[in-house]
């Protein structure tokens, strides 16, 4: 089903059912839900990296575009952490996934995942937090980097990562991506609402009841959030990928999978592919 309506908003959803070699999957496989980052991001960043291997390991992979992102509906308001948490569970309700799920979150998606786990510990069985924003010792300035990045993201993504492609492609992708970013940043209250989001402080992190795998890049602006997770969350594993900055999901996909699939196997009972760690094609 490509779309669901939740809280009156139309969300683009993709589900990859468990697949892969025998033995046959159990009748009720674990559900892994992917929560992407802000503005220039959408579910495709997981679709091409982690979702396929997770489905191949025997889990049901559920991907959705956050409100206003990708192919989901853009509303004028509703971009706070609390709204995003409510959206997440409403989307899961609409899909009929009422049992506890595993959340895999990237960047700002980490804020959503952490708050979701704190709000509804009965519905979150575990979390993989990739370069997650959110954890901070004290309010004020904690999301400055993220907001700066957001402000620059439309330009940075266009001119850095996509630069060579843009030359060949011409106006279409560039025009549309800039239009999406512009509509979100300038046409909604997203930036104001995100600026008002409170960090997740150590006392709250200590209350996270589920296991957490945190993966950060060694050179990341938010690497401190990873160390804080490790110190504060009772059941947390931190993996730091050497040499990488905030782009772990895209640039460190293979290593991320090597850490994440065994972790999921241990906690969710999925399979560990025999090829993991064997120097895969990525």
């Amino acid at each position: 089903m490509p779309e669901v309506t939740a809280r009156g908003v139309r969300f683009h959803v993709q589900t990859l059912e468990p697949c892969g070699p025998c033995p046959p999957d159990p009748p009720d496989p674990p559900t892994v839900v992917f929560v992407h980052g802000l503005v220039m991001d959408n579910l495709s960043s997981f679709y091409y990296t982690l979702a396929g291997p997770v489905a191949a390991a025997g889990a049901r992979a559920v991907l959705y575009d956050l409100r206003g992102h990708g192919r989901s509906e853009r509303t004028p308001r509703g971009y706070s952490d609390a709204e995003a948490v409510a959206d997440l569970f409403a989307v899961l309700d609409a899909l009929g996934h009422t049992r506890p799920v595993y959340l895999v979150a990237n960047s700002f998606g980490g804020v959503v995942a952490l708050n979701a786990a704190l709000a509804r510990p009965d519905r979150v069985a575990g979390m993989v937090l990739v370069e997650a924003h959110g954890p901070a010792e004290r309010p004020g300035g904690w999301n400055e980097n993220m907001l700066n990045t957001l402000g620059k993201s439309a330009l940075a993504l266009e001119y850095e990562r996509l630069a060579d492609q843009l030359l060949a492609i011409g106006w279409r992708q560039r025009g549309r991506q800039a239009a999406v970013a512009d509509a979100l940043v300038n046409g909604t209250s997203l930036l104001d609402e995100v600026a008002a989001v409170e960090p997740v402080r150590p006392a709250d992190l200590a209350a996270v009841a589920c296991p957490v795998l945190a993966v950060y890049g060694e050179r990341s602006d938010v690497a401190g959030a990873g160390r804080l997770l490790l110190r504060s969350v009772p059941d947390c594993t931190l993996h730091v990928i050497p040499g990488l900055a905030h782009t772990v999901l895209r640039e460190g996909t293979a290593e991320l999978l090597e850490v994440m699939l065994p972790w999921l196997s241990h906690h969710a009972g999925t399979r560990v592919p025999v090829t993991a760690g064997a120097g895969g094609a990525l």
Binding site: P2, S44, Y47, Y48, G52, D65, A281
Partner: protein, 93 residues
């Protein structure tokens, strides 16, 4: 043009929009990135249409599992059609 090629082109028109494709003759050599300027999220939409039309036999997830996004988008329409046809025709497997 083969039947599968016709169908894939029709899906691309739905995903990308007719306006953009008007000036473009889509054939086997058309590439998703350079020629069609397909966005990654649009390729997701195309993948979903392929799954709906051809079913699990084409195992699209496995097909793209060994490629990164740049490699996927560097494919041509013909590459994709060839994969689908090989999966649909047991003799060719």
């Amino acid at each position: 043009m083969t039947r599968v090629l016709d169908e894939v082109v029709a899906m691309l028109v739905e995903v990308v929009g007719e306006d953009f494709l008007l000036d473009l003759e889509v054939g086997p050599d058309t590439t998703f990135n350079d020629d069609l300027a397909l966005e990654s999220i649009e390729f997701v939409a195309l993948a979903e249409k392929l799954q709906l039309r051809y079913g699990p036999a084409i195992d699209f997830a496995a097909f793209i599992a060994d490629m990164d996004l740049d490699q996927i988008l560097a494919m041509s329409v013909g590459d994709l059609v060839a994969h689908i046809e090989s999966r649909l025709s047991p003799a060719a497997v």
